[in-house]
Symmetry: D2
Subunit: 127 residues, 4 copies
């Protein structure tokens, strides 16, 4: 997230908002924010939301995610809001919405549904 | 892709391979390649594979993708192979596999299933 | 839906609720409602929600969907609420939630994210 | 699967094929096999494929799946081939392809990517 330039806007139990300013280096051929970058901030919002409900010392891994790109990544600021839908012992299901803002104009640019896994003391393992 | 440092390894009709060298700036908290970066190269491999079967002048947009992260993004080189499963008039369905290589060791780190849309002369529209 | 025994509970622009009574014939090996049945009613709720915003004479096809199964399909009645997230010219993105009810107890059993396509006068074609 | 009328065609370690004859009761408004039924047999093929690599006494639950519907469900016989992509301790990732056959004509009608979970001695729990 550091490389992208994203920062945490808010953290509540099961709900996290990240913000990413538009950056030319993160665009695709058409000048819009790259789908991979949109996915990265949505995935991170989901991961942090899941983590916010886990015991201290737990790490979180993305098992999988699915994202619909609803509109081109056009805007000056991108906000990814992640939310826990169901927190299980091992798996947590989250959803995230990415909204692009440009002055007064707001547009939902992506919707993600993701599965996160809590990991304790198993560095380097995805399962 | 330029910012990421990825390059095209091979292009055949409906099949494209991209390569991305490991880069510390693209890692997540654990030191592995960020899931968003893995998704970005898989998405691009799908997009180029779809584009390879479309008439000249067509652009391609990612409608949606789903990715399973199978193993941590550990390796010195990451290769994303995208393949067209079905090319329709408007929509093309692709799959992609991302393989991490480290010396002699190869590991599949992600599997993607994606829907791409061909766009002609409609810049800035996702649908 | 007739074979399943589902019925429409409510239809508003972009929002549809379906109801399916539990039926032993629709269970999997463990006695819970089969994941395919849960997916079928969620998919239909998405399809009808999409259709509710399309011009008369349009048909709707499921391009793809992704479903997370959050809890076993236990309950006497299953309600699938589908909602349009973004209605485009060709593609409509929807989400659906399936809730199981058993007396006073309610539980979300599944969450779906789906892409629907409007089709006009092209019977038998998915694209 | 009994209600649907599906049967196992073949089982090898990590690979399973199911077959479902066309049945009018399983169609949607257009006369094609319902997307939910296509998803059900693909999901089952994935589940059995995952189970084929698990120790005896293990049960398998579908965590989530994503399916692209590539062509209308037209044909006299539907074959779902499920394959394990990665078998982990807790999670197994599978893919499945559904092929419709009508006389000499074969067509891939769906592609699924799914996450399965092994469960031991925890009946009624999805996680």
């Amino acid at each position: 997230m550091g490389t992208l330039g994203a920062r945490l806007l808010s953290v509540a139990p099961g709900e996290v908002v990240l913000e990413l300013p538009f950056d030319k280096r993160l665009t695709q051929q058409t000048g819009f924010l790259h789908a991979g970058v949109v996915a990265a901030i949505a995935d991170n919002a989901c991961g942090y939301a899941a983590l916010s409900l886990m015991p201290p010392g737990t790490e979180v891994l993305s098992v999988e995610f699915k994202i619909n790109l609803l509109a081109p990544g056009a805007g000056s600021v991108f906000r990814a809001a992640g939310r826990v839908i169901r927190a299980g012992r091992t798996l947590t299901v989250c959803s995230a919405e990415v909204v692009a803002t440009d002055g007064d104009r707001e547009q939902v640019v992506a919707l993600m549904q993701a599965t996160m896994m809590s990991v304790q003391g198993r560095p380097g393992l995805s399962d």
